[in-house]
């Protein structure tokens, strides 16, 4: 058993180091992707900032919006997954072939890339956040180790879920040439339901309760509100339950898509 753990540890160390070194060549590109990733929450914050003025919007004052969107930038960067774009390319251009020939499932390479990328970009956001919080008290978070630990667990589950969503959607390229368009559709819906545009409490009640039935809030809104302290008591428990349930559903979806897709791919590539 320990032998197998050590074996996987070595494999992942090699994969992550490789991904890290590849990213190193594209440092400036990664900074640009990061910049692009934070403009949407920054613009949303600017608009809510203007709307809140000196008062409150559904209990949110300016400082609350600032904390919410700073936390959103960080959690989004830690959970974002580009895999559907990669997989779409791999499948359509045949780059999946040599990956299938390796004695390692291609998903491991993708996971390692995610870890390397997220460590780099989230690290950059954390540094910027620390510097900003020195001059702008509004975005400071309470130092509560318990809450930080819970947030870390929720971010991990959210990252896993978003990875499986992205990977599974990318696998649709076995059947259609518009897999990335489906992913963009998903991103459009998630703008509202996962809390990217506004805290879910600010959406119309009907939309917010519809969102609660989907996986979207567990991708982002739940870990974000855990980090800012907006989620309390039973909301924390039901949040984790929701994350686990939906993660299970997406893992199952991935299994079905992978096995069926591969059979089909084999038939085409013959």
């Amino acid at each position: 058993m320990s032998h197998r753990v050590a074996e996987w540890g070595r494999r992942y160390a090699a994969l992550i180091r490789n991904a890290w070194l590849v990213d190193l060549q594209y440092r400036a590109s990664i900074v640009l992707w990061l910049l692009w990733g934070v403009t949407e929450p920054a613009v949303a914050l600017g608009i809510w900032w203007a709307i809140a003025g000196d008062g409150q919007v559904a209990g949110y004052a300016r400082a609350d919006f600032a904390r919410y969107f700073f936390a959103l930038m960080l959690v989004n960067q830690l959970t974002i997954a580009w895999d559907s774009w990669y997989l779409d390319g791999w499948i359509r251009e045949g780059e999946l072939n040599f990956r299938l020939a390796r004695p390692l499932h291609p998903a491991h390479e993708a996971v390692a890339e995610n870890i390397a990328y997220k460590a780099r970009t989230a690290g950059m956001i954390l540094v910027v956040w620390l510097v900003v919080s020195l001059v702008w008290p509004a975005v400071r978070l309470p130092l509560a180790p318990g809450r930080w630990a819970l947030t870390a667990a929720a971010v991990l589950l959210a990252a896993a879920m978003r990875f499986f969503i992205s990977f599974t959607t990318g696998l649709l390229a076995f059947w259609t040439t518009r897999a990335t368009a489906i992913m963009e559709l998903h991103a459009g819906v998630s703008l509202f339901l996962s809390g990217r545009l506004a805290p879910l409490a600010l959406l119309p009640p009907a939309v917010a309760s519809a969102a609660a039935l989907s996986w979207f809030p567990y991708m982002l809104a739940f870990p974000v509100e855990l980090l800012t302290g907006a989620a309390q008591g039973t909301a924390i428990v039901s949040g984790f339950v929701g994350q686990l349930v939906w993660l299970g559903v997406w893992i199952a979806a991935y299994h079905v898509t992978w096995t069926r897709g591969l059979r089909r791919y084999g038939a085409v590539g013959g």
């Binding site: 400036a28 590109s29 900032w49």
Partner: protein, 267 residues
């Protein structure tokens, strides 16, 4: 600072676009996909506004339908960007990196003009039509009938906006000559343009200054929309044209300086 436009330039341009058109017409399904994509984007943007306006009656002093006019302008300009700029000058970074630009420079045409206007992604021009239709509908809901002067000012400001957007692309993509390894430079434009979705008056003072004078995105959506709704007098059209002229001249200077750094990579 000369910008000679010989007669042959238009012939070359027309020939290129005709070739493009023939190519695109083979993929008519893309037309449907493009229209659906645009409609989805417009619905998303309107719902976004609905969320904001469920908690306020004004955004930076603008009411709902005024912001929708601006959204229409934003969408029309997005059409210009996706139809001409991204498939043309948007590919510059990769070509500087690979040395593919050599082939462009070897042609007896103005490289900036050729790089900028070589491709026409015809289907995305539907965004221009849908965007203007949205602006027109919003104007109707505002209950305003624009005067001739307002329409003329809007036309001028919209053309100026396209020039400003173009100048921004030229300046940002020229950075490729300094930062050769950055392949996704066009993302920088997307990040900046994101700020143009809303009237600049909604932003804090410092950002407003930035958007009017330094990164002039205020001139891309806020100004044309203001000219159409009558928020600003018709003379703003002339100011916009002036700004566009300055932006274009500056972009040309940056392009010239940048091109001097190019040493070729395919050699």
């Amino acid at each position: 600072m000369t910008f000679r436009i010989p007669h042959s330039a238009f012939r070359i341009l027309l020939a290129l676009w005709r070739l493009n058109l023939a190519e695109e017409l083979q993929y008519r399904a893309n037309f449907v996909a493009s229209v659906l994509g645009t409609l989805f984007w417009i619905v998303t943007a309107l719902l976004t506004l609905a969320v904001f306006f469920s908690h306020t009656t004004r955004l930076g002093g603008w009411d709902y339908w005024e912001v929708v006019v601006l959204l229409g302008v934003f969408n029309a300009l997005t059409g210009v960007i996706e139809a001409v700029l991204r498939p043309g000058i948007g590919r510059l970074a990769g070509e500087v990196r690979s040395g593919g630009l050599d082939l462009v420079l070897a042609k007896p045409v103005d490289p900036q003009a050729f790089v900028s206007f070589r491709r026409l992604n015809i289907w995305r021009l539907t965004d221009v039509v849908l965007g203007l239709a949205l602006a027109g509908y919003a104007l109707h809901r505002l209950g305003r009938v624009p005067s001739f002067a307002q329409l003329a000012a809007f036309g001028l400001a919209l053309a100026a906006a396209a020039v400003v957007v173009y100048a921004l692309w030229v300046v940002l993509m020229s950075l490729a000559f300094w930062f050769v390894s950055v392949e996704n430079l066009s993302v920088l434009f997307d990040a900046v343009y994101e700020g143009a979705r809303y009237p600049v008056s909604a932003y804090p003072e410092a950002l407003r200054f930035l958007f009017v004078y330094l990164i002039p995105i205020a001139w891309t959506t806020t100004i044309p929309a203001s000219a159409l709704t009558g928020r600003l007098g018709p003379e703003i059209g002339l100011v916009a044209a002036l700004v566009a002229g300055v932006a274009f001249a500056l972009a040309r200077l940056v392009w010239r300086a940048a091109l001097k750094r190019y040493t070729g990579a395919s050699g």
